[in-house]
C-alpha cells in the first residue's frame, strides 16, 4: 500500500511538472524575441520596406529612416505599440566611451587639484602664523605633505590628460574603419523609439567630435526597426537597412526660395541704386512725421529748449536702429545749424559709440565742429526700466521742446511717450516694433509706422543708395501683391505646385 501510494505521488508530481513546462513557466531569459509562447499576444508583422539615407540639406551627422508600418499597427491584431530603432554598433565604440570617461575623470581631478592647491597654500600660511603648539605643528606638516604630493601628481595627471586626448582623437578617426567590420565585433543597440503609426525617424548626432553624441560622417551604418507589442519581449525585427553614410551638403535646397528672393532683391537694389546715382529723380511721397522734423527743430530753437533724441533699446545691428542713425544725422546737422541743444541718452554702448560718430560728423558738416561736445550723446545703463527712469527724469528736468523716439522699442514706449506728453513736448516717433506702435500712435504727435522709419531715412538723406533700396522695396512689395494674388488663385484651384514653391526649410 505504501509503495503504491508513493508511486501515485511520484506520478502526480511528474504530471504537474510536465504541465508547468508546457504552460511556459520558466526563467525570463529563456524567452526568445520571436517566441510564440505568449498567451494572447502573437508576434506582430514586421515593418516593411525599411529605407535609410543621409538626411537631406544638413551639415551631416544624421541619418533618416523610413518604413511602412506593420500590418498589425492600427489593423490586424492591432498589437503594435511602438517601434524601436536599432543601429549596429561596433564594440570599438565602448573603447572610445571608456577613453571619454577616463578623460572626463582626469579633467575633473585636475580641476579639483588646481582649485585645492591655492586654498591649501593659504591655509598653510595661516597655520604657520598660528600659535606654536601640537595641533598647529600637525596641521602644518599635513598641509606641507599634501601640497607636495599634489604638486608632484599634477604634472603626471596633465601628461595622462594629454595622452588620453591623443588617444581620443585617434579613436575618433578610426570610427569609420570600425564600422566596416559589420557584422563581426559589434552588436545591435537601440538608438530611439517611434510611436505606432509613425513611419520615419531621424537618427541625429552632433558634429562636435569630443561629444558623446558624435555621429561620424562617412561611416557605414546599419539599421533595424522592431515592431514592439505591449509585452516588450514580443517583437518582430525588420530587414536590415544599410550600409548608409551620413555627410553634409554644401547647399540647402530647402532654401532655394530664399536664394531666389535674395538674387531678385539684390538685382532690383543694384539697378535702382545705379539709376539714382546717374541722377534719375526717384520720387518718394511726403511723410507727415518727417515733414514735421524741421518744424519741431525750429520750435525748439525759438523756445530755447533742447531736443531729446531716443535711439531705443535696439543694438547697432538692428535695422530700426540703423535707420534711426540716418535720421539722427540729419537732425543733428539741423540742430548744429540752428545752434540748438541736443540730448541723446543711449541704452547700448555700441549704439552710443556710433551715435557719437554720427553727431560729430553732422556738426562738422554743418560747419560748427566747435559746438560739438562728447556729452551730447551719453550712455545711461543697459537695464530697460532704469534707462526709462533716467530718460523720464531728463524729460521733466530739461523740458525739451521736441522728443524724437526712433529705433527699436519695447515695453518702455508708452512710459516714455506719456512722460513726454506730460512735459508738453512735441513728439515724433518711429519704430518697426509692431507691438509698440499703438502706444506711440496714441501718445505722440507724429508716428512713423514700421517701414516708414526706413523710408524716412532715405527721404531725409536723399542718398542714391537709400533711395535706390527704397525703390527696390516698392517693387518687392508689388511682387508680393502679385504673388499673393497668384497664390490665392492656386490655393482655390488646388495648384499645389505653385504654393509649394514658397515652402522654406527652417
Amino acid at each position: 500500500m505504501k509503495c503504491r501510494s508513493l508511486i501515485a505521488f511520484l506520478l502526480v508530481l511528474c504530471a504537474f511538472t510536465l504541465t508547468g513546462a508546457q504552460e511556459g513557466i520558466g526563467p525570463p531569459d529563456s524567452i526568445s524575441a520571436d517566441s510564440t509562447r505568449g498567451d494572447s499576444i502573437l508576434p506582430p508583422a514586421p515593418v516593411g520596406n525599411l529605407k535609410a539615407w543621409d538626411t537631406d540639406d544638413d551639415h551631416g551627422h544624421s541619418v533618416t529612416l523610413e518604413w511602412e508600418i506593420s500590418s498589425d499597427d492600427g489593423a490586424g491584431q492591432n498589437s503594435v505599440l511602438s517601434y524601436e530603432i536599432f543601429r549596429w554598433t561596433p564594440f570599438f565604440m565602448d573603447t572610445l566611451k571608456g577613453i571619454r570617461n577616463s578623460l572626463a575623470q582626469t579633467e575633473a581631478y585636475i580641476a579639483e587639484l588646481q582649485a585645492f592647491l591655492p586654498r591649501a597654500k593659504k591655509r598653510l600660511k595661516v597655520h604657520r602664523k598660528g600659535e606654536p603648539g601640537v595641533g598647529f605643528a600637525d596641521s602644518v606638516a599635513f598641509y606641507v605633505d599634501t601640497i607636495a604630493a599634489s604638486e608632484r601628481w599634477l604634472p603626471l595627471h596633465k601628461d595622462r590628460l594629454g595622452q588620453l586626448r591623443r588617444e581620443r582623437a585617434q579613436a575618433i578617426d578610426m570610427i569609420p574603419q570600425a564600422h566596416k567590420s559589420y557584422p563581426e565585433q559589434g552588436e545591435w543597440r537601440k538608438v530611439g523609439t517611434a510611436l505606432s503609426g509613425q513611419t520615419s525617424y531621424v537618427d541625429a548626432g552632433v558634429k562636435e567630435k569630443v561629444s558623446g553624441d558624435y555621429l561620424a560622417d562617412h561611416a557605414d551604418y546599419y539599421y533595424r526597426v522592431d515592431a514592439v507589442t505591449a509585452d516588450s519581449t514580443i517583437r518582430t525585427s525588420s530587414e536590415i537597412a544599410g550600409p548608409v553614410q551620413s555627410y553634409g551638403q554644401f547647399f540647402n535646397t530647402g532654401r532655394i526660395p530664399v536664394f531666389v528672393a535674395v538674387i531678385v532683391f539684390t538685382f532690383l537694389t543694384v539697378f535702382f541704386v545705379t539709376k539714382a546715382r546717374r541722377g534719375a529723380d526717384l520720387y518718394v511721397r511726403p511723410l507727415a512725421g518727417i515733414e514735421a522734423v524741421d518744424d519741431a527743430i525750429g520750435r525748439a530753437t525759438e523756445m530755447g529748449k533742447p531736443i531729446l533724441y531716443v535711439l531705443g533699446l535696439g543694438t547697432a545691428a538692428d535695422i530700426g536702429t540703423i535707420a534711426s542713425f540716418t535720421i539722427l544725422g540729419r537732425v543733428a546737422k539741423r540742430v548744429a545749424e540752428y545752434q540748438t541743444k541736443l540730448i541723446v541718452p543711449c541704452y547700448d554702448p555700441i549704439v552710443m559709440t556710433v551715435a557719437q560718430e554720427i553727431v560729430k560728423s553732422a556738426y562738422l558738416d554743418a560747419g560748427r565742429p566747435d559746438d560739438y561736445y562728447e556729452d551730447i550723446v551719453y550712455f545711461v545703463t543697459q537695464s530697460q526700466f532704469a534707462y526709462v527712469a533716467a530718460v523720464n527724469g531728463t524729460m521733466l528736468r530739461e523740458l525739451p521742446a521736441t522728443n524724437m523716439y526712433m529705433g527699436v522699442f519695447f515695453a518702455e514706449s508708452l512710459i516714455l511717450a506719456e512722460t513726454g506728453a506730460l512735459a508738453g513736448s512735441i513728439q515724433i516717433a518711429g519704430t518697426d516694433q509692431v507691438a509698440q506702435l499703438p502706444f506711440f500712435i496714441v501718445a505722440c504727435d507724429y508716428t512713423l509706422i514700421g517701414e516708414e522709419l526706413y523710408a524716412a531715412s532715405a527721404y531725409l538723406g536723399r542718398e542714391p543708395i537709400l533711395l535706390g533700396s527704397l525703390k527696390a522695396q516698392d517693387y518687392a512689395k508689388a511682387a508680393v501683391m502679385v504673388l499673393a494674388l497668384l497664390g490665392l488663385i492656386a490655393v482655390n484651384l488646388d495648384w499645389t505646385a505653385f504654393t509649394d514653391l514658397f515652402v522654406v526649410a527652417k
Binding site: 580641476a111 588646481q114 582649485a115 586626448r165 569630443v210 526660395p257 530664399v258 528672393a261 535674395v262 532683391f265 520720387y283 518718394v284 511721397r285 511723410l287 547697432a316 545691428a317 538692428d318 535695422i319 540703423i322 555700441i350 559709440t353 556710433v354 560718430e357 545703463t381 543697459q382 537695464s383 526700466f385 532704469a386 534707462y387 527712469a389 533716467a390 523720464n392 527724469g393 507691438a435 506702435l437 499703438p438 502706444f439 500712435i441 496714441v442 517701414e451 516708414e452 527721404y459 527704397l470 525703390k471 522695396q473 516698392d474 512689395k477 508680393v480 501683391m481 499673393a484 494674388l485 497664390g487 490665392l488 492656386a490 490655393v491 482655390n492 504654393t499 514658397f502 515652402v503 522654406v504
Partner: protein, 270 residues
C-alpha cells in the same frame, strides 16, 4: 531747500523707519535676521512709492530712486559683462595662467585662434579713448553693423517676405459645398464656415491694402489712395486690439506692485 520740504522729507523718513520697526517685529520667526528682513521689505516699499511719486511730479524721492536704479544697474551689467563674457567665456579658452588667476576652469580642448578676433575687435573699440588712434574704433563698428545687416537680410527675407507671402495663400471659400449648404449651415460661431470665409477675405484684402499704404514711390490718389486708406484703417484696428491687450498686461503689473505694498509691506491683505 525750503523748510517745509525738509519737514515733509523728515516726516516721510520717520514714517518709513516706523514701518521698518513694525514690519521687523512681525518677521521675528523668519530665518533671516528680522531687522534685515524688515529693512528689505520697507526699503522695497519705499522705492516703489518713490517711483510711483513721479505720477505727481519730479521730486527728490524719485530722483533718489532713479539714480540708485541707474547706478546699480549700470554697475551690475558691466560686472556681468566682464565676469560672464570675458572671464566666463573667453579666458578659459585662451589662457591657462589667466584662468588660474581668475579661478575659472581652463578649457584646453576648446582653444581656437578665432577667439582672438573678438579680443582684437574689443581692443580696437577701446581705442576710442585715444584721440590719436580713435579712428580704429570705426572698424569693429563697421564689422558689427555690416555682419548683422547681412545676416538679417537673409533671415528677414525668409521670415518677413516668403513666409508672409505664403501665409496669404488662403482659400476664399472655406469648405465650400454650394450655396444651399452654406445657408443651411449658416452660423456666426468663431469656428463656423461664415467666420472662416470672412477671416480669409480680411487677411487677403488687409495684406494687399496694407502693402499699398507702404508704397512710397507713388502718390496715394484715386483708387490707389482709397486702397491705402483701407490699409491704414486695418492697421489702426490692429493697433487698437494690440493696445487693449497690452494695457491689460500692464494692469496686472500694477496689481503685482499693489499686492506687494498691501500684503508684504503693510500686511493688510493675506
Amino acid at each position: 531747500m525750503r523748510r517745509s520740504t525738509i519737514i515733509v522729507m523728515a516726516a516721510i523718513f520717520g514714517l518709513f523707519i516706523l514701518t521698518w520697526i513694525l514690519r521687523s517685529t512681525s518677521l521675528a520667526s523668519v530665518q533671516e535676521h528680522y531687522l534685515i528682513g524688515g529693512f528689505k521689505v520697507t526699503f522695497s516699499a519705499f522705492l516703489t512709492l518713490a517711483i510711483l511719486s513721479f505720477l505727481y511730479k519730479d521730486n527728490p524721492f524719485y530722483k533718489f530712486a532713479e539714480h540708485l536704479f541707474v547706478g546699480i544697474s549700470a554697475a551690475f551689467w558691466m560686472s556681468m559683462g566682464f565676469w560672464t563674457t570675458i572671464v566666463g567665456n573667453l579666458i578659459p579658452r585662451l589662457s591657462r595662467s589667466l584662468s588660474e588667476f581668475f579661478q575659472v576652469p581652463y578649457q584646453p580642448g576648446s582653444y581656437n585662434f578665432v577667439y582672438f578676433i573678438p579680443v582684437i575687435l574689443g581692443i580696437m573699440l577701446l581705442m576710442r579713448l585715444s584721440s590719436k588712434y580713435g579712428w580704429f574704433a570705426r572698424w569693429p563698428l563697421a564689422f558689427i553693423v555690416g555682419t548683422f545687416a547681412g545676416l538679417n537680410f537673409v533671415r528677414y527675407l525668409r521670415s518677413d517676405f516668403i513666409e508672409q507671402v505664403s501665409a496669404t495663400f488662403v482659400p476664399l471659400l472655406v469648405n465650400w459645398q454650394g450655396v444651399e449648404h452654406f445657408f443651411s449651415n449658416f452660423s456666426l460661431s468663431a469656428s463656423g464656415q461664415f467666420v472662416a470665409i470672412v477671416g480669409n477675405w480680411v487677411i487677403f484684402l488687409g495684406v494687399i491694402c496694407g502693402i499699398i499704404y507702404f508704397f512710397f514711390s507713388k502718390e496715394h490718389k484715386g483708387a490707389f489712395g482709397t486702397a491705402s486708406r483701407v490699409g491704414i484703417w486695418i492697421l489702426m484696428i490692429t493697433f487698437g486690439a494690440s493696445f487693449g491687450y497690452t494695457v491689460m498686461g500692464r494692469i496686472s503689473l500694477l496689481v503685482g506692485r499693489i499686492t506687494f505694498l498691501f500684503r508684504d509691506w503693510l500686511g493688510l491683505i493675506s
